[in-house]
Subunit: 356 residues, 2 copies
Amino acid sequence: MSEAARLESIRTRGYARIATEEAFAPAAMLERYRRMLERHEFDDPGFRSLWGFYLGSRSPRATQIIAKLQDLGPQRMADMDATGIDRQIISLTGPGVQVFDAATAVAMARDANDELAEAVHRAPHRYSGLTAVAPQDPRAAAAEIERGKRQLGMKGVIINSHTHGEYLDHPKFSDLLAAAEAENTPIYLHPQSPSKGLIAPLLESGLDGAIYGFSVETGMHMLRMIVSGVFDRYPRLQVVLGHLGEALPFWLFRLDYMHRATVAAARYPNMRPLKRRISDYLRENIYVTSSGMAWAPAIRFCQDVLGMDRVLYAMDYPYQFVADEVAASDAVPLSDQERRQFFQTNAERVFSLQGS
Amino acid sequence: MSEAARLESIRTRGYARIATEEAFAPAAMLERYRRMLERHEFDDPGFRSLWGFYLGSRSPRATQIIAKLQDLGPQRMADMDATGIDRQIISLTGPGVQVFDAATAVAMARDANDELAEAVHRAPHRYSGLTAVAPQDPRAAAAEIERGKRQLGMKGVIINSHTHGEYLDHPKFSDLLAAAEAENTPIYLHPQSPSKGLIAPLLESGLDGAIYGFSVETGMHMLRMIVSGVFDRYPRLQVVLGHLGEALPFWLFRLDYMHRATVAAARYPNMRPLKRRISDYLRENIYVTSSGMAWAPAIRFCQDVLGMDRVLYAMDYPYQFVADEVAASDAVPLSDQERRQFFQTNAERVFSLQGS
């Protein structure tokens, strides 16, 4: 599609479609996953379930996703044109480098960021990127967040949930969180497979993946950050959650009630009073995107309970690359201005896309 | 409150309030819990976290709940009168007898049912009961479901989620499920603490309880039943979920998409095609109650996506005994007829209360 034709279609439509949770994977990273699986170098059951499937299966789903993940060129752009996506905000797919040892992870995150930044440089009107980091080395992660923002023009940070079973509420990750807050750059908290202590009964029933387990892993991760006081320590930190907030918006009322009751009863020594209610953090420090959730009732529900400025469009390419879902997202009953917020202006604000 | 005054207030209001997830605990069961905790007889971390708190804490929350759980007499009735609850559907609190050895569990379930049936017999206009069973002995459980329905006048069956880490999708529980279907009596699938394989990162952050872990445990349990084909084998089986369906209504769209994609890719040998979509089972074999979720946006959402006849009122007494929440539930924007469905007639139909 010519750039003129694309701009004309945005003008006619009234909004650009910015897809905010779109994945890529460097070939070298997938190669390393393959080696880890073959050599049984890494005993994480979630990694084995997810990447054993994608890299081992001959199914159309697996082979297409593996091919599309690695492409930051013509195929991706053609897919965007075919479904009317004007801009992808691209991030390193889960679990990214978070399954490696620290040194490998630091190096591979840098490489991934360089590769992504180059693709963005080639197509700045269509691609934006998020900085991948290695939480295994929080200082290096902090430095990479700075480099990503200042030198590579990245628009946020991608964290693919747990790192070797550890979550961002752990004090060891404070440098990483402080850097994201200081750079005024949002963290996209993206799913990966549930950590070892969480996966057993999900895995044995085939529920560990995107069907359910991802949301348990990621919703819990977000709540751990909130109840441990991360946002009291970093009040300006902003986190973006996919899949309409991993169902946490559904729980706003109960989270407030049970947190208050649990704190009052002093049930857990490490669950202390917070400055705000749980729902306040979820409304003031969190954005949610509609990745994988092209469903009007849930989108409208989140807009109602979080605010119209807190819900962003996403596709979840290439995992959920479905033209009909773009049409379904277009058809969510919204005013013209609200639809523009949902597809375009919220993303421009949250990810500082002005001038891109 | 005199019975005449109560009936007059129902007439004025236009509906009776039937609370459908209300808990009790026989003193003997709590005594046995206490002994198990003291003697470290039972190494389930979820049980220790939950009941170590309730039975060990001097907090007002814990002591009041323990007192109210054991009362099936004047205190409970006074609490119902004070908050305008006309009828409680009472069930054995989680984890019930499901933490005991099979013989103890079978005996104690019978005792609990006899105690509850007697209370219902004393106040048939205010109390109804569900049958507690010991899934540890599925044949005995099936017999108890029959006895509960036919001899004790029970209105359903209570299952407090996992039994020693096993879920109702396991083939060993087929007698239990077959009996519930044959007796045309719904199973209330109620939370308990997450099973051992699911609890570690929830417990270490204080999220294992009603604030979040209960919903993970119980939502997963429900999904395990669906994806394993329980409702293809027992198509008339009806399950009631509290807490507005443990957020599963929020996931209807994604569950359908990901189940279809996972089955098509043959990712798991034990995840086979089903006769219906996941959302069909959730709309046709499941009812949800508003226990602990006295929040209009989520109640309305569930009514929208499941159907007005699928959402029932509940309080979650004594765990969430809050007069203001009854008022909030009254104030959910509904037509008079819909409000009567929500508070009264859906419960009368699902739990066969006609003539009670």
